[in-house]
């Protein structure tokens, strides 16, 4: 258990309850306290990983660059952009991307990209190399493959922060078996530093922190 939160993520009181929070425009109706807005771990896998005390390696600060895969409507990536520097948000589906645009509106260093995370060459002309972190939350088959394909963007001392959804890989298999396969496959390009089930907040999800080999 680590108490090291990224710079810019703090614990604040909301209605008498201590919760993680970042500073920025509210995005999804989360409670606010002045400039601080609560980070709901039930709606954000990265939020859950931080709430569970995982050592994500995210540091925060204007110098930190992040590639976020599977930004969806921007719930989590808005918190990331609140604390980090240039943040590239890749999302495949146009529908949620509309909400993502709204979240990006008030965040000058959050760059929305409508692209398929399985095809990095379609955004490698935009996303810079040696990003400090890749945060991945894509509900598709082959989640380990997506992480491996995108390793080209990550700095040698960068971190992959990955949320694996078991049901996206195979609905009929035991999640534990799926997670083992994903961890195995990841070793092709990464060294897994820590992993943990996120079931307290997200059923059948595994949080993984890894670094490039």
């Amino acid at each position: 258990m680590s108490d090291e939160l990224p710079v810019g993520v703090e614990r604040h009181q909301f209605d008498g309850e201590e919760r993680l929070a970042t500073q920025g425009e509210p995005v999804y109706g989360e409670p606010t306290d002045g400039e601080w807005r609560a980070w709901n771990p039930n709606r954000s896998k990265l939020g859950a990983m931080l709430a569970l005390g995982m050592e994500t390696g995210l540091e925060g600060g204007d110098e930190e660059t992040v590639l976020y895969l599977g930004a969806a409507s921007g719930t989590t990536v808005s918190h990331v952009a609140d604390v980090a520097g240039p943040t590239y948000a890749v999302e495949f589906a146009p529908r949620p991307a509309r909400d993502l645009l709204e979240a990006a509106d008030s965040r000058p260093r959050l760059f929305p990209l409508l692209a398929d995370a399985r095809k990095p060459e379609t955004y490698a002309h935009v996303v810079e190399r040696d990003v400090d972190a890749i945060v991945q939350d894509v509900a598709t088959r082959g989640q380990a493959r997506v992480a491996l394909e995108n390793a080209r963007f990550l700095a040698d001392d960068g971190r992959l922060v990955l949320a694996v959804k078991a049901r996206s890989e195979d609905v009929t298999r035991e999640p534990a078996a799926v997670f083992e396969d994903v961890r195995d496959e990841l070793t092709e390009g990464y060294e897994v530093l820590e992993y943990r089930r996120l079931d307290d907040y997200h059923a059948d999800h595994l949080g993984i922190v890894a670094r490039p080999r």
Binding site: L101, P112, H125, V126, R129
Partner: protein, 294 residues
């Protein structure tokens, strides 16, 4: 394009800094095998004076590109159709629900109260044929009427638009059924990718899952039940008819999505097939009659 000048594959290559349309297009259409230190290369290439300015330009370009793509996706005609047909069903359902409420209420003040949208029409408006003598009841009747009218207008819109979006599907089914199938599948492309067995039971998901759970027989048809060729076939042969209709509709959806050209032979093939199927029961009935009959 050479290995020692990676800047040429960056999105900003060959762009004037103030060309915002070109920038959005470069974001959307460009590719590169490998990422590079784009902020640094852009400054070296004179695209921006420093990293901050580069990021400002990147922000503008990515926002414009994403907004364009989102708007294009939303405007796509099959999306319009999906919204229209769903709204049509919502309006019809709500009009009927409110008409029931109206009948209940009006029944307490109007001894000759009727039911349904028809009754609402009778008492709605300043110059209604009948005056119920209650401002709120009359106003409610007006809402019912306008919802029913909206549903009717939406039906006309769907009937007009479907043939341009999915000409073969609209010709093979009626335009409203075609739009419903597109709506149930979530768009023309997803419909085009569905096997005909799935098209056959679209709209019968409850029955299908009851079957998969093991306590019901498999559904013979979903929304395509409303197709004349299915409904007009003897119940014993409806499964065959539904299979034939679904097969042709699945092909029509693929033609509409991938080529968009009209293929009138599909209708002829379906008509021929349905005739064969229906003649089976006609023969069967003939035999029964011959053998003693009813």
């Amino acid at each position: 394009m050479t290995a020692d000048s990676p800047a040429e594959t960056g999105w900003f290559a060959e762009l004037e800094p103030d060309d915002s349309e070109g920038a959005a297009a470069a974001i959307t259409e460009g590719t590169a095998a490998e990422p590079a230190d784009w902020p640094k290369l852009a400054v070296e290439a004179g695209f921006a004076s420093d990293a901050e300015e580069y990021y400002d330009r990147l922000k503008e370009a990515t926002t414009a590109a994403t907004r364009d793509a989102v708007e294009r996706a939303e405007r796509a005609d099959d999306r319009q159709l999906v919204h229209a047909v769903r709204t049509m069903d919502d309006c019809t359902r709500t009009a009927n629900e409110l008409a029931e409420r109206l009948a209940e209420w009006a029944g307490t003040i109007d001894p000759d109260a009727g039911a349904g949208v028809e009754y609402a029409r009778a008492i709605a408006g300043e110059d209604a044929e009948r005056d119920v003598g209650h401002e709120r009841v009359r106003s409610l009747a007006e809402r019912v009427v306008s919802l029913a009218d909206e549903a009717e207008d939406l039906r006309e819109y769907v009937e007009r638009e479907t043939p341009t979006v999915a000409p073969n599907l609209a010709a093979l089914a009626d335009p409203v059924l075609a739009a419903r199938l597109i709506s149930l599948a979530g768009g023309l492309e997803p419909l085009a990718k569905k096997p005909s067995g799935t098209v056959q039971v679209l709209g019968a998901e409850d029955a299908l899952f009851a079957h998969l759970r093991g306590h019901a027989s498999s559904p013979k048809h979903g929304i395509i039940y409303t197709h004349d060729a299915v409904r007009g076939t003897h119940p014993d042969e409806r499964g065959s008819a539904a299979r034939a209709v679904a097969g042709k509709l699945a092909i029509a959806a693929r033609v509409d999505h991938y080529s968009g050209e009209r293929k009138p032979e599909l209708e002829a093939e379906l008509a021929e097939r349905i005739e064969t199927i229906q003649s089976r029961t006609a023969d069967g009935e003939g035999d029964e009659n011959g053998g003693g009959g009813e």
